[in-house]
Symmetry: C2
Subunit: 592 residues, 2 copies
């Protein structure tokens, strides 16, 4: 066995799965975010791939295999050559033609089906591949969890009708749930945004884990969504006919929102209830950069008890600004502020298209101004007066200010209502294990995929796209199944089912272990044998725990009396077993 276990964690490892997979000799780093698979890792990967393949075949999807090196033209036609921005690995061949390393293959599958099929009778069809993908991540991290070269199963469905797409989508959804169940990997399907992929309906399969990069919400009533996709529950507008006028006040000593709220309650109390942070309107200046590199400064307003959520903004602001794909969003820099002297930091008021008798012309910044959907007409706010050490109190939305549009821009908070009324949301972290999309007709239109329908009329095909991160799933399974000593694989995925250890240097022990290993192998079990003659039993035991085979058989002192120790890696339970009963004992632990 080509294997060397390490005592030290790799210096760049942040999460346990990464540390353990490297230390146990499953994978090895070749470059940032690029890993080699050593024999043990490849064995687990192959078993995961087999399960994915079986479930894809079971829904009638057919396996194909596309190149990773692709020409620019189809991605130019769909717009993604540009939209992917720096995430795309681009290169030129010796004739100076543009190529890319494919991050996903919508365009190529669309063109393939266009090439081969011309009639509704050929549809529906679902095609898949298990293939190496590339993404030039800005921050590759956590080993296989976010790599730059990784293995994905991607599939694509092609239907004539929307109902057909619904059925193909649902078949994939069910197949994904079965795959994750067979992998023993807990996942929560959550509503998601489509991002650079385009299309309408979309769900992610998140594995709840503190090591995950995605934040999602769920309610006791069964709602679950990626935070990017959570739609704010919009309150009813309020009649503001009798609302008192607003006024600008001096607020020299209110450096924080809580001090501002305290000041307002002391000096300008409301009759109905106290002011809270949720009554302050926080205006945040952001720089939005499109995939083409266009940079736009915008101001977004939200209740002061929430923060600007850059991921939510990235997912939603593109459409408002007319940017294709998902832009980058960051806080405005000092240089940005310098170009817009009307923005008085700490005292930024709402931009407005309404006459504002109070804010006057100071309120007009000429920058796009977007509001959190909670800021409905008739709500009353405390906010900055666009002048240092002054605020406005009692500013009414729809009367004193308005916006260029509503934007899901604010953090989702635990306790917020689920959009479907199924109760308050709780917030959790997860890893994206799969993502399914109803692409609709975006790619088929861009690339001209039409077929003749029953009436001989050309109709544009509607598509779905479905991905599972295969190498990432392996890391997630390792992340979920380990203890402080090492990895713990489920029996169906472990590189071997039994780890036989020769605990001693005597020929009797070494030969006995080899014979036992061979007899277990002949009985149809997958066996890993540790017969290193010069390594101490202690080191070998440590390695059994690090490597994580589900059952460990120790051939030691009791062997001369015809007994060995059988150990369950997960529970740590050990039993002394007669040689004749070893196979049975192993099999019991494997099914348990």
């Amino acid at each position: 066995m080509f294997l060397r276990t390490l005592r030290e964690d790799p210096v760049d490892a942040e999460v346990m799965s990464h540390k353990l997979l490297v230390r146990a000799g499953y994978i090895r780093r070749a470059a940032p975010g690029v890993y080699s698979w050593l024999p043990l890792g490849l064995a687990v990967l192959t078993k995961i791939e087999r399960i994915v393949r079986e479930e894809m075949n079971a829904i009638g999807a057919q396996e194909v295999h596309f190149p990773a090196l692709l020409p620019r033209e189809p991605y130019e036609a769909s717009g993604r050559w540009t939209e992917y921005g720096e995430n795309l690995f681009r290169l030129k061949d010796r004739k100076d033609a543009d190529y890319l390393l494919a991050p996903t293959h919508e365009e190529m599958f669309t063109l393939l089906v266009k090439d081969l099929y011309s009639s509704y009778k050929d549809l529906p069809v679902s095609l898949y591949q298990i293939q190496t993908k590339y993404r030039d991540e800005a921050r590759p991290r956590a080993g296989l969890l976010r790599g730059r070269e990784f293995i994905m199963k991607d599939s694509y469905s092609f239907d004539v009708s929307d109902e057909g797409l619904d059925a193909s989508y649902e078949a994939h959804r069910q197949a994904y749930l079965r795959i994750f169940e067979r992998l023993g990997l807990e996942v929560v399907p959550v509503f998601a945004t489509a991002g650079a992929m385009g299309g309408s309906k979309s769900e992610e399969f998140l594995h709840p884990s503190e090591a995950g990069e995605d934040t999602f919400v769920r309610s006791a009533g069964g709602y679950a969504a990626n935070v990017e996709a959570v739609a704010t529950t919009v309150p009813e507008p309020i009649d503001f006919t009798d609302a008192p006028p607003c006024r600008v006040v001096d607020t020299p000593d209110t450096p924080t929102i809580s001090s501002l709220v305290e000041f307002a309650n002391a000096e300008f109390p409301q009759a109905s209830r106290d002011w809270t942070a949720a009554d302050t309107l926080k205006n945040v200046v952001l720089a939005v950069t499109s995939a083409e590199g266009e940079r736009q400064i915008v101001v977004v307003g939200m209740p002061g008890n929430r923060e600007a959520d850059l991921k939510r903004i990235e997912a939603n602001i593109g459409a408002l600004l007319g940017f294709a794909g998902e832009p980058d969003v960051e806080a405005a820099t000092d240089a940005d502020f310098a170009k817009h002297p009307g923005l008085v930091r700490g005292y930024i008021g709402p931009g407005t298209s309404l006459d504002s008798p109070v804010l006057g012309e100071k309120s007009t910044t000429a920058l796009p101004y977007f509001l959190d959907p909670r800021v409905v007409d008739g709500t009353t706010w405390i906010t900055g007066a666009n002048e240092a050490r002054k605020h406005v109190i009692g500013l009414v939305a729809g009367r004193d200010f308005a916006a260029d549009g509503y934007l899901e821009c604010a953090t989702v908070l635990a306790g917020d209502p689920a959009p479907d009324g199924s109760g308050p949301l709780e917030i959790a972290r997860g890893m994206e294990m799969g993502h399914i999309f109803q692409l609709g007709r975006k790619y088929a239109e861009a690339l001209g995929l039409k077929v003749l329908d029953e009436n001989g009329k050309l109709v544009t095909v509607t598509m779905g796209s479905y991905g599972i991160g295969v190498s990432r799933a392996l890391a997630a399974i390792a992340e979920q199944g380990h203890d402080e000593h090492g990895l713990i694989w489920p029996a169906s995925l472990a590189p071997a089912q039994v780890h036989v250890v020769a605990a001693g240097k005597q020929a009797e022990i070494l030969d006995g272990a080899a014979e036992l290993a061979e007899s277990l192998e002949q009985a149809g079990l997958e066996v890993l044998l540790d017969d290193r003659p010069k390594v101490s039993p202690g080191v070998k035991f440590g390695d059994t725990e690090l490597l994580g085979m589900p059952v460990i058989v120790v051939v030691g002192r009791a062997f001369k009396d015809g007994r060995v120790e059988v150990k369950d890696r997960r529970s740590g339970e050990r039993t002394e077993v007669e040689l004749a009963n070893v196979e049975q004992a192993v099999r019991q632990l494997l099914v348990g």
Copy 2:
């Protein structure tokens, strides 16, 4: 089945395997030299991979999987970042770091073993992968036979001693012969040069085929070599003490070698024998470009009955010029000649470092001058006099001229003696299916792979490298096994063993075919069913021949009487068989 057969050959297809694999829907072109695998093609590929895997595992090689996207540094250390020249796909990541798409992985395997192993006790070890490789070929052609993205099995052996390397090399050699035998692919192992790979001993496994790009030679006595590797049989030097002096003669009417020979025999006959074309010394001016882009003009001299063989020159001239890797060699251009007015086209004499009373100072070109090894001392020649319409007759090698070195520069001709004395050579064409190399210590030295030997002394490891073109093997099998109607797969590699055709539109026929297909499948056979209701039997029969499953079962008119037709694709033989006996009939044809 996602499949559409085509009636037209693809416009870019030159060889039958390419035409048929595309027309039969096995593969699809994505870019020049880059192909997608459709379901049928992927099925064959998977079966080939399984055979390769089994034989590699059988010699104890362990499977791993490396990235295709690799950092520049290791390839810089070995020199191949530059030596590969334009054949290497290079790219930069978002941080402007250099990467490449690996054409082969010597460096990475060397580093991996260096990283994990430190003692002679860990060796020998052989590792392999089946992986997607990249080469930016100048002229991708013939479909899968010479692609830019292709699938290779590459393996690497690591030994402490030369004897160990011999054993690892021989184990691979035998495994390769078994693999090709199981693939039903005729191969000839031939001696080869190491090329850009470096190292000493090397053999190619060539599949004899007119569609091949490699020329090789073989003798009846069992010698076989790539033409690049054929060593000329060097004659004994001749005593030239009594040789008559040479003389410059006017040759106004000798535009060709044969007219020159005729003129010489008429005007200056030799006592012993007639002059022949083999007695003329042809001097050819070539431009040699190193991988780094350095361009050097050289003159090479050879007997006039042979041509300059650029591939042989490329394989051998690098060492003479001190160029690393394999340079490009082409005929000198008009511009090159313009820079060297001493070179009189059509009348170029040998460059010389000897005093030449006849050629005088005109003979000195200051360009490197290399000679074919047949031009031994004492041989007598007719050659150009470095002056228009003048030749020298009776010029003696070693007396009147010499060279800067000997070079294997001339074509090998049928009938030339085998270097090992095993008889005259015949010349054939072949496709390179595999290549095995004794790399020796080149990579281990460049990358510092040393282990402690039995005496605790650090020794450099010696390596072998072994490749099989997996996707190319598929094309070669298709090229070998086809007729004018389509593909003919061996039973062990066909996407399915039986092709069941419903030859008719009647429900009875369609249902009958489906039931028969299912019963054959349940009997453990792999079945492809053509139950397209609106396609004529003639088109379906054509498709069975194009697709090439080994056995075809036709459910047609006789089905109502309980009989179907069973056809052998290769022989075309048809038999009417009772339904109860179909499975048996199919199995007989499969083993036959």
